[in-house]
Amino acid sequence: MCGIVGYVGFRNAAPILIQGLRRLEYRGYDSFGIATLAGNVCVHKKTGKVSHISDSAEILQGTLGIGHTRWATHGIPSDINAHPHLDCNEKIAVVHNGIIENYASLKRDLIERGHIFRSDTDTEVIAHLLEEVYDDDLLVAVQKTLPFLAGSYAILVLSEGENRLIAARNQSPLVLGIGDGEIFAASDITPILEYTSRVIYLDDGDVADIRPEIYTVYMENKPVQKEINEITWTPDAVMKGGFAHYMLKEMFEQPDVIHHAVHAVIDSTLPRSLKEAKTITVVACGSSYHAGMIFRYLLEPACGIPVRLELGSEYKYTPVPFSDVIIGVSQSGETADTLAAVKKGICNNVRTVAITNVLNSSITRSAHDTILMHAGPEISVASSKSFIAQLGVLMQIVNLLAGGTCSEVLSHGRYAIEQILLTDITKAVDLCVSADHLFYVGRGVFYPVMMEGALKMKEISYIHAEAYAAGELKHGPFALLSPETPVIAICLPGTAYEVMLGNLKEMKARGTPIIALGIADDIELLEIADVVIPVPPAHQWIQVLTCTVLLQMIAYHTANALGREIDMPRNLAKSVTVE
């Protein structure tokens, strides 16, 4: 998914375009670019998020322009591949959302006819095709070019010497905003609503000729009348799609996310360094560290490969890495400490693998190999779907290294998460809301699951939450237990079950309220725990996923009940780019 925006009017176009691209960032943010018309075509494009680096773009002059924010799914995001794209003479600029399916053959023909291509994108063929037929009328040129294009597109085009934009749509969204002496175009209404509430939805096959005062929409080269819709919504409501917070929306995207993450790695694309590794080091920070820890609990028994786990920030204080391969895990791919650790590995001749959500982020440019987790853009500062995606990728790596024995198990992940999202957790939330301190306890692989659960609770509800390996409680933290400190515990049938039940009984004896994640009809557990949240019986890997989601839900609903700023918790940033 990408986002495009265009402006024709009387104001300086660049700031409007940049602001519009920020609005469209939820559609993708790995690179962006704008082009304006100030005598000639001026272009500014960059890799990275538009909200981070845009000051230099806003100085572009001109009252007419187009912009684009990209989320690459294939082909790398780079300054060159960022839109807008120009023709050979740099007189025509194009932004495009969609896929031109026949671009390869078009490109071959154009190169034969002497056109020089600068990028690897499908979009650039549109600029060169326009150049061939352009005869001082951009509208005619676009109408002549479109029949050659197969695939989906929403495009915006401008050319030197003409004070107008041409927009065209086929199977990708495109909307016009009709202002007073100015007209906007965008992938959806979010960039437009700040300026006007009057919008026109273009249909497949529509071509619009847009000038400051007047617009005409053509269908099959004939002008057609378009209805103007009056929109009364806020941009925020559109972007969140009815959900109260991005975090909730992203949590509900997790069934699809796990599916895509698991399929992001197949045997043939698994880096050789991982296949041949005798020892592995995982370096990560925050939630990613917890994902790495779960990886260790799963990989070591399945394959007998020792896994060393390091915090990114502490890695620089340890001696030269002794593993065969270092896996750096970072959602944004920009986490400074993880990045430094990967670089340290490279300096010491260790193979490195990056697991990240953002193509061409810093970590992917440093590491030898990259595995993308395909979670899609994550807006909420507290990660939910990207954590699940990391688990999906890491579980799939374990599965592949173990010879594919768990492929079927992993295929159940999607449905299991879909089901667990329906769980009623009100009683658990009621207990958490009134607490100042919470303890999260688990054993084995469920210990890191609890660490992640406690982190979520801290991040968004501001309640002090600590995770302990259940056996460690008696070595100190037990002194803190009281009727005012609820304990959340995972107590599922398995090797740790009996001893876990014993631990819970001891806690109960101190009057501590207990919220247990366990099997629905576990009579013994029902007797001990104040609240039992049912976890469906399933393979342990699936239960790791479902418990993770349940803990996210408890944290989210607790924070919501407390009225917290869930998407932007105080003092926190989405990606930590300093040490």
């Binding site: 990708s172 969204p173 909307v175 959806d188 209404i189 939805y201 209805e227 103007i228 819709n229 009056e230 929109i231 009364t232 919504w233 409501a237 559109v238 799609g241 009815g242 959900f243 909730l248 929306k249 509900f252 995207e253 599916h259 399929h263 295929s411 159940h412 999607r414 449905y415 879909e418 089901q419 999202l421 329906l422 469906p536």
Partner: protein
């Protein structure tokens, strides 16, 4: 002035259980798209883009689905499901002008919508064989003279489709809990409500009605052949195959059939007309499926025969299962209901090999185990039952 549409998608659809246990009726996939999405497409084709959706039961699922559409719709939440008119009232703050009210859980074609747009204060009606399940209307000329919601004994076959074009003044007078009552009260007040015959309207009262709706909506599909299709597979008629789907050698598919993405259709499987298969579904070799809806992530083992059935998400059907479409009676809420299906199966059912099902409802997460041949007919297996 642009006409707004309000889609009412807050209801649960209790009579469609077990299918509506975990999702609202509007999200049941028919011809591989939730019912509500067919209606949104009809609205867009009729030229209406300003769409408000009232959500309630399992609202997160509805919102998630709607946020994946290519253009935004406005979401309004109904906290408690207090009837259709109350749902419309929830959106009242956003309605200034005339409004088109459409249920999200039964299908209407765009042609009928184009007709009703032109006449203010009107409703769409149709004739139905079981009128007492709907708002039964009487018409004189083309004016509605009365509307009675779900009468015990219906005097005629003309029923309201639940689709209304109402003026803003009328919206402001709404107070009752069902749209039929609101409209009936308006008629008594002297408002003229025009009756317009719907071209194509489909509702599912009971789960087996989905099969007819599925057959009807499949006739509108555009053929598409993405995925990896063996050259020895035989594909006839309108068939849509999604990307990433593998069709193995010797498979015979006769359209209209819709198959989603990333499915595996095993060697010599036969998919017959009127069948929709969701995404990530596995159908193993030599299995035959006829006139059925198979939802996402289901696994059908080899040598099965399935007809007239709805198989929920994530179900696993064992080898050599025989699911036969039969007419009969099923007891629902202590009342025998005429039914006609193979099986209506909720989500996450696991059934062992060699079972025979005819005219059966199987609840969510039921587990049918055991080695001996099992036979179930004209019955309901409740949610989460373990059959040993």
């Amino acid at each position: 002035m642009s006409l707004k549409a309000v889609i009412l998608a807050a209801g649960e659809g209790r009579r469609l259980r077990p299918l509506t246990q975990n999702r609202p009726k509007a999200l049941i996939p028919v011809a591989n798209k939730p019912i509500i999405e067919h209606n949104i497409n009809s609205l867009v084709n009729a030229g209406i883009r300003d769409i408000i959706v009232v959500v309630g039961f399992r609202k997160e699922q509805v919102m998630r689905h709607l946020s994946q559409l290519s253009f935004p719709v406005m979401i309004v939440q109904q906290a408690e499901q207090l009837g259709t008119a109350h749902a419309l009232l929830c959106a009242k703050g956003m309605i200034k002008d005339d409004v088109l009210v459409i249920p999200g859980d039964n299908y209407i074609d765009s042609g009928s919508l184009r007709d009703i747009i032109t006449i203010k204060n009107s409703l769409l009606y149709t004739t139905h064989k079981q009128p007492s399940n709907f708002g039964v209307i009487t018409i004189e000329g083309d004016i509605v003279t009365s509307i009675t919601e779900k009468p015990i004994k219906a005097s005629r076959m003309t029923v309201s489709c639940g689709i209304y074009h109402i003026s803003s003044e009328l919206v402001w007078r709404i107070a009752d809990n069902s749209m039929s009552e609101v409209i009936d009260a308006e008629i008594r007040l002297g408002t003229k409500i025009t009756a317009i015959k719907a071209h194509s309207w489909q509702d599912a009262i009971y789960p087996w009605d989905l099969l007819t709706m599925n057959e009807r909506l499949l006739t509108d599909i555009t053929a598409q052949k993405a995925g990896i299709i063996s050259s020895s597979a035989v594909i006839q008629g309108p068939v849509s195959i999604g990307k990433g789907t593998e069709i193995k050698p010797g498979v015979v598919i006769t359209g209209p059939v819709f198959i989603g993405e990333d499915c595996k259709i095993g060697a010599h499987a036969v998919i017959e007309p009127g069948t929709s298969i969701g995404s990530r579904v596995t159908v193993n070799s030599h299995t035959t499926i006829n006139k059925s809806i198979i939802m996402n992530d289901a696994v059908i083992a080899s040598h099965c025969s399935i007809s007239g059935s709805v198989i929920g998400e994530g179900c696993t059907i064992g080898e050599n299962s025989l699911i036969v479409h039969k007419d009969g009676f099923i007891i629902l809420d202590n009342t025998p209901i005429r039914s006609s299906c193979g099986v209506i199966m909720g989500n996450g059912v696991i059934s062992s090999p060699n079972i025979l099902l005819e005219n059966v409802i199987v609840g969510n997460n039921v587990c049918i185990q055991g080695k001996s041949d099992k036979r179930f007919s004209n019955s309901v297996i409740p949610d989460k039952t373990q059959v040993m």
